[in-house]
């Protein structure tokens, strides 16, 4: 094998190796540029643990898609340790509680494991329902005894956490 061929192969291999690294970095570029970072309202201290709430974008099955004009599009946490978290309302059921598979995992001593859920009914009206929690779920000032529709802007209180539906 001639010296020249070997040199070309040697440098060629290094180039290919680096090309692989560069392509790999391109693949994860979406980590930097494809993400949406929402600054939360109250940042009490820097936190390495970021609770990522992936935007739930899924194909909407016929029922859930019947969103009316002026219907709320997002759920916002306005008080409590998760202040500023938003979850897009796309026809899915949102569960709230301390259980770690909840849509919004509450970091709240007054919340039950599976505290409440928020779901759209047949007409696209969003309903909040208490799931037999210990400390109760409050819509405005009144404790929920049955599933109730949420008027726009009305605060739903769970322990120290308050959430609202917004357009």
């Amino acid at each position: 094998m001639s010296e020249l061929t070997l040199t070309v192969m040697r440098l060629g291999f290094l180039a290919v190796l680096w090309l692989f690294v560069i392509v790999a970095v391109q693949v994860i570029r979406s980590d930097l540029f494809g993400t949406r970072v929402t600054q939360r309202a109250t940042a009490r201290r820097g936190a390495p643990e970021q609770r990522a709430q992936p935007q739930r974008r899924q194909q909407q099955s016929g029922r859930g898609n019947r969103q009316r004009r002026g219907a709320p599009t997002k759920l916002v946490v306005t008080e409590g340790s998760l202040t500023g978290t938003t979850v897009a309302l796309q026809g899915q059921t949102i569960t709230l509680g301390r259980a770690h598979d909840s849509t919004i995992v509450l970091d709240d001593d007054y919340a039950s494991g599976r505290h409440a859920r928020i779901y759209p009914d047949q007409d696209g009206q969003w309903i909040v329902e208490d799931l037999g929690s210990t400390n109760g779920t409050y819509l405005d000032r009144s404790r929920l005894t049955t599933a109730m529709p949420i008027p726009p802007g009305a605060p739903v209180r769970i322990g120290k956490t308050v959430i609202e539906l917004r357009k």
Partner: protein, 462 residues
């Protein structure tokens, strides 16, 4: 959960990126086959005879892994599998290349390493298929603690003293096994489960002093116990690497769980203190430190030390390297050219440029692991992902640092690249767990239940 996150990171775009993974896998196999051809041309002047078979074999293994990921973990990270395939394939080529040097032991290591890699991928597939949800592991928190201790202490009772360290267990008829490699996964499960429950106590009950949070005396208990155990491994098994890995992982996970810098300060102080203490009393460890401080001194056998030989290898490689198959790795004496010192061969034959590329591949793999931890929605998954990628990172650091002379050399293997069955199998399993967590983290929320009946069932289950 004490943390107050101040940002929400949400990824936009299609969650499943399986096709990207497939393309990258093809690329990784191509790079490996190119390396193989390159080595063969340099060594024998012809393309190696087994090239087609090797390429097809590697592609087959990678393809099988890809199909299983597509079926059982469709939303998993697209980059981890190709990166591991590249590292494993490059490692196989380098071991095959070193097999050409008749002086180096063990002779003919590439075929057995290929078999171990296939076994590793099989375990990878097994974990992906049978571990449907990583949260199941949370149930075995304390069982994993016991299992990890047994694995760590096994070599003490059944081990053989090999090359000054007691880290192997001989299984009659099968060969030797390094239980520590498996222990690092099991122990990550224990730490994740334990810290998830205890982190509030560890984070909140503290006083502020000199700008640092000082934990209460009794909360220091766990870190002291782990420190004692890691020192015990160091003294009784003279395994500096495993001891560092074990303690380092605990400190990393403690820091991530509690967000308190003071734990890192305590951890560093404890590990430095312990290392200095042991190095001054234990002969084997002291010898390693001595070699590290005086690499150019003649060794005890009158020859050049391995540390010096590794440095000569890097120096001879220079910026662009001598080319695959054209280095003088056979001059690195000792017993670990194909395992612990494989990075020296990379440095000599691919040069600084190639070594940096390989280290970047490791860095990318670790970055994907930490990214998985960020995206995970449950605290246990977060901690487990941090622990697993942390232990992987520490291992890469300990080996690369040892070979390049940054820290005293420890007997650890470079994950995926170095020759050694236990290591490659355990690391494939580790990556499988990370892929499982990342699949759960990136999976979109389930489609809303379509009938009231289904919703009722959910409520009852809840």
């Amino acid at each position: 959960m004490s943390s107050t996150a101040n940002t929400t990171v949400a990824s936009v775009g299609t969650p499943s990126r399986r096709n990207t993974e497939l393309v990258m896998l093809g690329f990784a196999v191509l790079v490996t086959v190119l390396a193989y051809a390159n080595t063969g041309l340099a060594l024998d002047g012809t393309l190696p005879a087994g090239m087609v078979a090797y390429g097809l074999g590697l592609a087959g293994i990678a393809g099988a892994a890809h199909l299983v990921v597509r079926r059982w973990a469709p939303y998993a990270d697209p980059l981890m599998l190709p990166l591991c395939t590249l590292l494993n394939g490059l490692g196989l080529v380098l071991i095959w290349r070193l097999d050409h040097e008749p002086r180096l032991q063990p002779a003919n290591a590439a075929p057995s390493q290929l078999m171990w890699s296939a076994l590793g991928v099989a375990l990878f597939l097994g974990v992906l298929i049978f571990l449907r949800d990583h949260r199941v592991l949370q149930r075995y928190t304390y069982i994993s603690m016991v299992v990890a201790f047994v694995l760590l202490l096994l070599p003490l009772f059944f081990g053989a003293d090999t090359n000054g360290a007691r880290i192997w267990v001989r299984i009659p008829g099968v060969g030797t096994l390094q239980p520590g490699e498996f222990a690092k996964i099991v122990i990550a499960v224990f730490f994740a489960g334990y810290l998830m429950v205890k982190r509030d106590a560890l984070a909140l009950a503290s006083r502020r002093f000199l700008g640092m949070y000082l934990p209460r005396g009794r909360d220091l208990g766990p870190i002291l116990v782990v420190w004692a155990v890691s020192l015990m491994i160091l003294v009784l098994e003279t395994d500096l690497g495993m001891s560092l890995l074990f303690f380092g992982m605990f400190v990393v996970m403690l820091y991530v769980a509690t967000e308190r810098t003071s734990w890192i300060v305590f951890g560093l102080l404890l590990s430095v203190g312990g290392a200095v203490f042991v190095a001054s009393f234990n002969y084997h460890v002291g010898q390693r430190v001595h070699n590290w401080l005086n690499p150019l001194e003649l060794g005890s056998n009158g020859g050049v030390t391995e540390t010096a030989q590794a440095m000569y290898a890097f120096g001879s490689g220079g910026l662009l390297g001598s080319g695959l198959g054209e280095g003088y790795s056979r001059l690195i004496g000792g017993i670990a050219t194909k395992s612990d010192y494989i990075l020296a061969t990379v440095g000599e034959e691919l040069g600084l440029v190639g070594l940096m590329a390989v280290l970047l591949v490791y860095a990318l793999l670790i970055q994907r692991g930490l990214r998985t931890a960020l995206a995970a929605r449950d605290p246990f998954g977060k901690l487990l992902a941090v622990g697993l990628s942390g232990v992987f990172a520490l291992q890469v650091f300990v080996v690369a640092g040892g070979v390049t002379g940054l820290i005293p050399l420890t007997g650890m293997t470079m994950p995926f690249m170095a020759q050694g069955g236990s290591s490659v199998i355990a690391n494939w399993a580790l990556i499988a767990i990370l892929l499982r967590i990342s699949d759960t983290a990136r999976r979109p929320a389930p489609v809303p239940a379509s009938s009231t009946d289904a919703e009722q069932t959910q409520v009852v289950r809840a």
